[in-house]
């Protein structure tokens, strides 16, 4: 896919895809152990991995994968059943392969896995189901139509070898259609445009025919029909390929006129049309692009938008109508370009969810609880960075749901629930946010226990008045854990406080809903994209700053009288509630005189409300976020910067950090007297 890249990196990327595909297939097999296409798919993934591993010098990987491939070959042939235990071992083996590819694999572990694999294969060999493949015997042969992808020859596929392999099955009649061969000028000699139709007179199972194509089946068009089904009128006329007058018989009959091939073509085309839809969905074209190139493109588009807004200012002031028309066109185009650009960074959340099938499978084995995982809304798209950063918190939440939430099967039956616990992962878009929720039908979170724990750990004063919602917030405190014993699942470093911090770093929020006895639901609300925020543009002194709109509650005017009255105490009375405020002019040390009518922007930081005094509110502003450079990243008050329509830079306030910094500054002032 990326011929210019380092081949080892390319192999790694492809191997990761193969492993993911094999894992998805294996997990499917747990539910539908006899499904032939899944087995084939897993086998092909393993085989390809082995082959390309050996090619790129990953010999240990090739050798190890060989064992799994052999095991699956026997499953494929119907000699061995794909039992749950066997699949589980192969899943573990898959993890080991990942280790072999990325480095850090333990050789002894690999050997143990192979031994276990062989044991499971032996065990499963006894329980092999009746071979479905042989049920199909009774046909008198097959009519096989196939067409290779254009680049098949370049990829080292030899059609003659395929034909020879089919001849081994029985007597064959072979016809070739040249209908799709382009004219000589347009023909590249390495491309394959031929379509073959082969009739095999042999009583072999259908799978034997499919085996011929097993390694290229994904990219090609293949249709296999029993010979008897083909109407006699369409029966194969062995086409006179080389009968076209004036054409040399070989090399490939490029100039062969179409009429010569016609007897075959109709049947072939019809046959090809009904070829598996499954393969079509897979061949959705996609291109791997390094993320930094996307970021560069994003920067360029950002510049374009700024240049465009300058242009429209000039155009608006000009009497030249042509200039205005062009400017409007450019405005439309650059807006579209920006929207397209935003979508480029979006990936479906399904990729993230699919990892949890494996996790839940492992958890189920570890805890002895039977668990049903339901996922919903996989096609919901979120920013790629969001997907990456949410992976760990979600793992923790799913673990929590299984470990703390779900009861053991006995407890569940006693409570009148189904034996299998249910964990539901869902994603949906709501306005400018994506809501990802993890719910379970377990025992729920017990407020009383949370409170007891918090009191025991000194997180809350005994006897303090706390609402239920406030109590639930305690689980996000650092150092909080309700698990009476620390199991291997929970309490492994990532706590709920880390989950909360990660979500907040993505400018999102967490909701917890729970009902004792019937389960809990944790929802993460994350903005659709990290690259853009809605902000309130304000002026402090001569500088302009952006306050994230999500933090803003309301804006008020600070009259000079109130300002004077507030001199000593920095508190404001808003509808009978006391709201502390910070004068940003002081915090930023602008050294300017206050405006006569200052404004107060009330922001909320978690439970607290704080007023920020600014000189002017300019308006709301959609902002492309740029990170601060190395030289400035130690200044916590700002989460980033943005470029305004006139090309100047405005800083984006990090509200919680700003409030903390303001408090510190005030404390220093008090200390100084």
């Amino acid at each position: 896919m990326n011929p210019s890249g380092d081949p080892i990196q390319v192999f790694r990327a492809e191997a990761r895809d193969l492993l993911e595909r094999a894992e998805a297939g294996l997990l499917d097999l747990l539910q539908r152990p006899a499904e032939r296409p899944i087995i084939d798919d897993v086998f092909r993934s393993l085989h390809t991995l082995k082959g390309s591993g050996a090619m790129f010098g990953f010999d240990a990987l090739a050798a190890f994968t060989h064992h799994c491939e052999t095991a699956f070959d026997r499953v494929r042939k119907g000699e061995v059943a794909a039992t749950g235990d066997l699949v589980s071992v192969v899943l573990e083996a898959k993890d080991h392969m990942r280790g072999l590819i990325e480095g850090g694999a333990d050789e002894a572990h690999g050997k143990a896995l192979i031994a276990r694999l062989e044991r499971e294969v032996e065990k499963a060999a006894g329980t092999s189901p009746a071979q479905p493949a042989q049920a199909e015997s009774g046909t008198h042969g097959w009519r096989v139509s196939f067409k290779l992808p254009h680049d098949a020859l370049l990829n080292g596929c030899n059609p003659l070898a395929l034909l020879a392999e089919m001849r081994e099955l029985g007597p064959c009649r072979v016809a070739v259609s040249t209908a799709e061969v382009p004219v000589l000028d347009a023909l590249a000699p390495q491309e394959c445009h031929l379509t073959w139709t082969v009739e095999i007179d042999a009583e072999c199972p259908r799978s034997a025919v499919e085996d011929v194509f097993v390694f290229i089946i994904d990219d090609m068009t293949l249709d296999i029909a029993p010979l008897g089904d083909v109407p006699a009128s369409e029966a194969l006329e062995v086409a006179p390929v080389d009968a076209a007058p004036g054409t040399p018989a070989s090399p490939p009959p490029v100039a062969t006129t179409q009429p010569a091939a016609e007897p075959v073509a109709p049947a072939t085309v019809v046959a090809a049309a009904q070829t598996s839809e499954k393969r079509n969905t897979k061949s959705d074209e996609s291109v791997r692009v390094p993320a930094e190139r996307l970021d560069e493109l994003m920067d360029r588009v950002g510049e374009l938008v700024i240049a465009q807004s300058r242009l429209s200012q000039i155009a608006a002031a000009s009497p030249n109508l042509d200039l205005r028309a062009v400017s409007e066109d450019i405005e439309r185009l650059s807006n579209e370009l920006r929207n397209t650009m935003m979508v480029l960074r979006m990936v479906p959340v399904g990729a993230l969810f699919s990892r949890f099938r494996r996790l839940v499978h492992d958890l189920s084995r570890e805890t002895g609880k039977s668990i049903e995982l339901i996922t919903d809304g996989e096609s919901t798209e979120v920013d790629k960075t969001v997907v990456e950063r949410l992976a760990d918190p979600l793992v923790h939440l799913v673990r929590n749901a299984v470990d703390h939430g779900l009861e053991t099967p006995d407890q569940r039956l006693a409570a009148g629930k189904t034996e299998a616990g249910r964990v539901c992962l869902s994603a949906r878009q709501a306005g400018g946010e994506v809501v990802i929720s993890i719910s379970d039908d377990g025992r729920g979170i017990d407020h009383k226990r949370v409170r007891e724990k918090a009191e025991a750990q000194g997180l809350v004063v005994p006897g303090a008045a706390l609402s239920e919602a406030d109590t639930l917030q305690l689980i996000f405190q650092p150092g909080f854990s309700t698990a009476a014993t620390v199991t291997s699942l929970s309490g492994r470093g990532v706590g709920m406080d880390v989950v909360k911090r990660t979500v907040e770093a993505l400018r999102g929020s967490i909701d917890v809903q729970t009902r004792v006895g019937s389960g809990s639901d944790i929802s993460l609300r994350i903005p659709l994209t990290l690259a853009i925020i809605d902000g309130l543009l304000v002026r402090v002194g001569t500088g302009r700053y952006v306050i994230p709109l999500s933090a803003v509650e309301e804006c008020l005017e600070l009259s000079p009288e109130e300002d004077l009255r507030a001199r000593g105490r920095s508190f404001l009375s808003v509808r009978d509630a006391l709201v502390p405020f910070l004068r940003l002019r002081d915090v930023f040390g602008t050294g300017t005189q206050p405006e006569r009518f200052q404004k107060v922007v009330i922001v909320s930081t978690g439970a607290e409300r704080v007023g920020l005094v600014v000189d002017q509110i300019i308006g709301d502003h959609q902002t492309v976020i740029k990170s601060m450079s190395k030289l400035h990243e130690d200044i916590a008050m700002f989460s980033g910067a943005t470029i305004l329509g006139d090309g100047a830079v405005a800083l984006i306030l990090d509200v919680p950090q700003l409030v903390a910094a303001g408090q510190e500054q005030e404390a220093q002032l008090r200390a100084a007297g």
């Binding site: 950002g302 930023f588 601060m628 450079s629 030289l631 200044i635 008050m637 830079v649 405005a650």
Partner: protein, 170 residues
């Protein structure tokens, strides 16, 4: 031309050899920096002060859609700041800060020329008798009858905030 060929040769541990440099002025002193570091020389643009930043890099600017810090070497070398003139320029350089390549704008009073400098004529900064902190100066190079200053930019930008802040007048 031999001079150019020489210039292309890599600089050997700073001892001998010629390098292409950009010369610029700060408060009448001539400074040089390696031409390979320079990305662009631009006119002054709107600067956005960053409250709480260390004093020598107290602002950011928009450089082709990116937000980059603007550094004022006059503060590092203890010179007084004067208002900008029509000759003031920003030199955008790429420099590695904690092994991350970073674009930084340098405020200068005037940019003179790109020239070839023979580092064989350089002397390490004397420990006494210089107005500037010797560890921020890589070498003094003799050129056309006067000494020009080759600042140690990596050290200046990697310096911990504390050590730079201690440079500030009390």
């Amino acid at each position: 031309m031999p001079a150019q060929l020489q210039a292309l040769e890599p600089q050997n541990s700073g001892s001998a050899g010629a390098v292409e440099v950009l010369t610029f002025e700060l408060q009448g002193e001539i400074f040089v920096l390696e031409a390979t570091m320079v990305r662009e020389i631009m006119d002054l643009v709107a600067m956005t002060p960053v409250p709480g930043a260390r004093r020598f890099a107290a602002a950011v600017i928009n450089f082709r859609g990116r937000v980059i810090p603007l550094a004022d070497l006059r503060i590092i070398f203890g010179m007084e700041s004067r208002p900008a003139t029509i000759e003031s320029r920003i030199v955008v350089i790429e420099i590695s800060i904690d092994s991350t390549p970073t674009l930084v704008g340098l405020l200068t009073d005037r940019v003179n020329e790109v020239t070839t400098l023979d580092l064989a004529n350089s002397t390490p900064p004397p420990m006494v008798g210089m107005r500037y902190r010797p560890d921020f100066v890589r070498a003094l190079v003799h050129r056309e009858g006067q000494f020009v200053i080759l600042p140690d930019l990596e050290k200046i930008f990697s310096a911990t905030p504390g050590s730079v802040r201690s440079m500030q007048p009390a």
